[in-house]
């Protein structure tokens, strides 16, 4: 009979594990304790002790199982990233407050666009419910279906031109009952979940990385660009790079991929004059302040007029358009000033900084990839929406996460937050024995 099969040894390990509430860790903790006791017993037997005696002394040397169990429990509890949660609630609260503000202004202007507050409250409420579901759901279960998610994302993008509603020349909205869903955003969520299930990049050779790049990089990006949604295309490029970096891609391969992206962007820009004019106009905004440069002229003027403390709640501004989405941030600054605006931007930046920290703490490849992709998505969105209003990035429909008005966007922002919280929650309750992590740890 092996030593670990002896009833005294089993009993000892069981009374340690009794105090560790996350059952998932039990097997591994027991294996570790058994190994220790066996080593000790063998050493004592080599210096002449009987097996019975050695086992008794080895268990005694371990000490109080209750104390050990309680200590291990504390090391393997579910964790909550409160900082992230609080920052998001503050951002979402600001967004809801802004919709109240915007509703008041639109009523004064009588432009017929009321009811944004009610809608945004509904979106945020739905989002929070979905976030909670994903938070307590074990995100690792998604890994099994990751290829399916990826394929679904591609199919969604491919069929969208056929079934979607066309707005401003872009077929990106699908209406289901009374809901209108923004397809590129749904697709990007499916794609990044799919992406995270790929084989860790450090295991890939040149040939395989090239293949992965074509299927997971070029194909979706081309589909995005064909739909005319460049923002999502760029966000997706960043997410792919983040996943590869987090999974320790070789730096030579990384340089290759970055060059391919830059090349693709240049080709796209120079293949269409219309697109070039639209996307690069921010560089020449001053030459054409009322034409292509109008967006930048209007946002800069709003920011300047905001001054230190702003013009107050529901101040009417007649040169900014779409203050609930495109110009929400400059309008916020116009109303509440540079100090409050700086505060809002600082909140958004510390939010994405924390998402990066969550990714660093994730313990297994799928969680690492997933959180890296989500962090990249928020990082691009936040920095873009800030740089855009001061004329340092092209004007697109990019939104400030959790703050700007939007249905699909708000709900999926919360969904992604739920995934981040789920990964963080389980960071200390993932056994090391799970094969992929074990291999990775050896490097």
């Amino acid at each position: 009979m092996r030593i670990r099969e002896r009833i005294e040894v089993q009993q000892f390990a069981a009374s340690v594990c009794e105090h560790v509430k996350t059952g998932e860790m039990h097997k591994e903790i027991k294996a570790e304790l058994y190994g220790h006791i066996e080593d000790h017993v063998e050493t004592m037997m080599m210096s002449g002790a009987s097996e019975e005696d050695a086992i008794r002394r080895a268990i005694q040397a371990m000490g109080d199982p209750t104390a050990i169990g309680k200590g291990l429990h504390a090391a393997h509890r579910p964790r909550t990233e409160w900082g992230l949660l609080i920052l998001v609630l503050l951002l979402a609260g600001t967004g809801i407050f802004m919709m109240f503000n915007v509703d008041t202004v639109y009523k004064k202007l009588e432009n017929g666009m009321y009811g944004l507050l009610d809608k945004q409250l509904f979106f945020a409420g739905t989002g929070i419910a979905i976030m909670a579901a994903f938070w307590f759901f074990d995100y690792r279960r998604l890994k099994r279906w990751s290829e399916l998610f990826f394929a679904a994302g591609l199919v969604l993008l491919a069929i969208s031109p056929l079934v979607a509603i066309k707005v401003n020349g872009v077929s990106a909205w699908i209406g289901i009952a009374s809901l209108v869903i923004y397809v590129p955003r749904m697709a990007i969520i499916l794609l990044i979940i799919g992406l995270s299930g790929m084989r860790p990049a450090y295991q890939l050779g040149w040939k395989e990385i090239a293949l992965q790049f074509i299927f997971r990089g070029l194909l979706p990006v081309i589909l995005f660009m064909q739909m005319g949604v460049y923002t999502e295309g760029v966000i997706y490029m960043a997410a792919l790079v983040a996943v590869l970096v987090r999974m320790r891609i070789r730096w030579t391969q990384l340089v290759g991929i970055l060059m391919a992206w830059i090349g693709l962007l240049l080709v796209t820009l120079y293949s269409s004059e219309r697109l070039r004019d639209r996307l690069l106009s921010f560089m020449y905004a001053k030459d054409d302040p009322l034409g292509d440069g109008y967006y930048y002229t209007s946002t800069l003027k709003a920011i300047q007029d905001g001054d230190w403390w702003g013009n107050g709640f529901s101040a009417v501004n007649d040169w900014l358009s779409y203050i609930h989405t495109d110009t929400l941030l400059p309008y916020f600054i116009y109303c509440f000033g540079w100090v409050a605006g700086g505060g809002l931007i600082a909140m958004a930046v510390s939010f994405f900084y924390r998402t990066i920290k969550v990714s660093k703490k994730a313990r297994e490849p799928f969680g690492q990839g997933l959180t890296a992709a989500i962090a990249a998505l928020f990082m691009v969105q936040i920095s873009w929406s800030v740089l855009m209003i001061i004329g340092l990035a092209p004007f697109t429909g990019v939104r400030l996460p959790f703050v700007s008005f939007g249905g699909t966007n708000t709900v999926t922002d919360f969904l992604l937050l739920g995934l981040l919280l789920s990964v963080y929650r389980r960071k200390d309750i993932i056994p090391r024995g799970s094969s992929s992590t074990a291999r990775q740890a050896i490097r």
């Binding site: 190994g35 000490g63 109080d64 104390a67 200590g71 504390a74 200390d428 740890a441 050896i442």
Partner: protein, 114 residues
């Protein structure tokens, strides 16, 4: 739950954690090997209940100061621990603190001129 949290914070502040990290800085080890090594190095001064090592190791891992991996050695599967860069940084800081403390004590005791 709160009390447990406290226990582990105490563990981390204590000398045992630094002792464990310093020992792991030399080479990756599994629990049993680590205990014997600490005992040997300290010439028996640090002889604690062996099982208490595991809460320490697992807490150090949750803090990101060590990482673990399973490996077969001599026909037996063992859970090895490796110090991380973050762990090395922590040891460095604690050593500097310790030096400062020791110099201060030396000065005070030294003045007595025993």
């Amino acid at each position: 739950m709160e009390a447990n949290m406290k226990v582990n914070k105490e563990l981390l502040k204590g000398s045992t954690a630094v002792l464990v990290l310093t020992t792991l800085a030399k080479q990756d080890q599994y629990g049993y090997e680590l205990i014997r090594e600490i005992e040997r190095q300290s010439e028996g001064v640090f002889a604690f209940k062996e099982g208490t090592l595991y809460p320490i190791l697992h807490t150090l891992e949750a803090e990101g100061w060590v990482e673990s991996y399973w490996q077969v050695h001599d026909g037996r599967k063992r859970k090895y621990y490796r110090i991380t860069d973050k762990g090395k940084q922590h040891v460095k800081e604690r050593k500097a603190e310790w030096q400062l403390f020791r110099t201060a004590v030396d000065r005070v005791i030294g003045e007595g001129g025993v």
